[in-house]
């Protein structure tokens, strides 16, 4: 078995679905800050990402108006930047979910 091929494929798949998974997590109604979101991702999926790669992705989601962020002061003096999903983000994640279900159905039917 070509393990290298499977590794490359799964890595591309992870990259491709990461924004979908993050939007789905945010769509549950709770706001998350970066580190918290990474932990949620680890706990809910088996996906391990280099933690720093989350931030360029969040910036892209923000520039597409799918998420918004706001700084919240903490007693430690080091504020957290919380992300929440926008109404546009909710519409997009709904569309993505339909597409994902259809794709899943197609793959299983082959």
């Amino acid at each position: 078995m070509d393990k290298d091929f499977v590794l490359k494929w799964s890595s591309q798949l992870k990259k491709g679905t990461l924004s979908f998974i993050i939007l789905k997590i945010l769509n549950q109604g709770k706001d998350f800050y970066g580190y918290d979101l990474i932990n949620e991702l680890k706990n809910r999926t088996s996906i391990q990402i280099a933690e720093g790669t989350l931030y360029p992705l969040m910036n892209r989601l923000k520039s597409e108006d799918l998420v918004v962020s706001n700084w919240v002061e903490q007693s430690s003096g080091i504020p957290r930047k919380y992300y929440s999903i926008t109404s546009e983000g909710k519409k997009v994640v709904a569309e993505m979910s339909i597409y994902w279900s259809n794709l899943n159905h197609i793959i299983h039917s082959i």
Binding site: S11, E51, N59
Partner: protein, 201 residues
Amino acid sequence: MNFTEVPFTDPNAARIYRDYMNRVRRIARKLDRATQQEIVMEINSHIYESFQGESNYAAHETEKLLDTLEHLGQPELFLKPLIADKAMDQATHTFNPIKVVRALILNLTNGISYFLFALCYLLLFSFLIAIILKEIFPTEIGIYSNYKNIFVIGSVEDQYQDLKLADEYFMPIMLVLSAVVYLIITFLLKIKRSLNRRRTA
């Protein structure tokens, strides 16, 4: 909102933390002040939260911090797409030609590996095709140079025929050049593969 340093009691941990944050600042320097501050504060917040959440309670501060920074990754790598996106955003909003050029250069470096591969493959195929063409057109195909401003591998007009060099060694030279380019491609592929693995690990 102001930047607050993560406090460390161990001077080694404090030094490692400051070095890392300086690297983040250096990379973000290409952006406007507010965006720089935003990026630095978010990475700082991540380090603080991750350090607090580090499960290895018994570990020394330095070890815990090194774990945190290892999980976060090399700022030069993970911040690159973020900086390129933000620079492009700023450039298109300000219409400042200097910013636009800077942003284009930043975005170009993301695709530079593909450019290098394309160039290497083009060279490799060119050398191999030159060998085939030499068999078909033995007198026309060659290496031509006047050691100044002319260097051609292929065919030239009749007036430049006297610039032909090392005709008897044309095939071995092309074979050696093909082998060198092939080795460069293999080396670049290995580097790219290990970088990709590190990014996706």
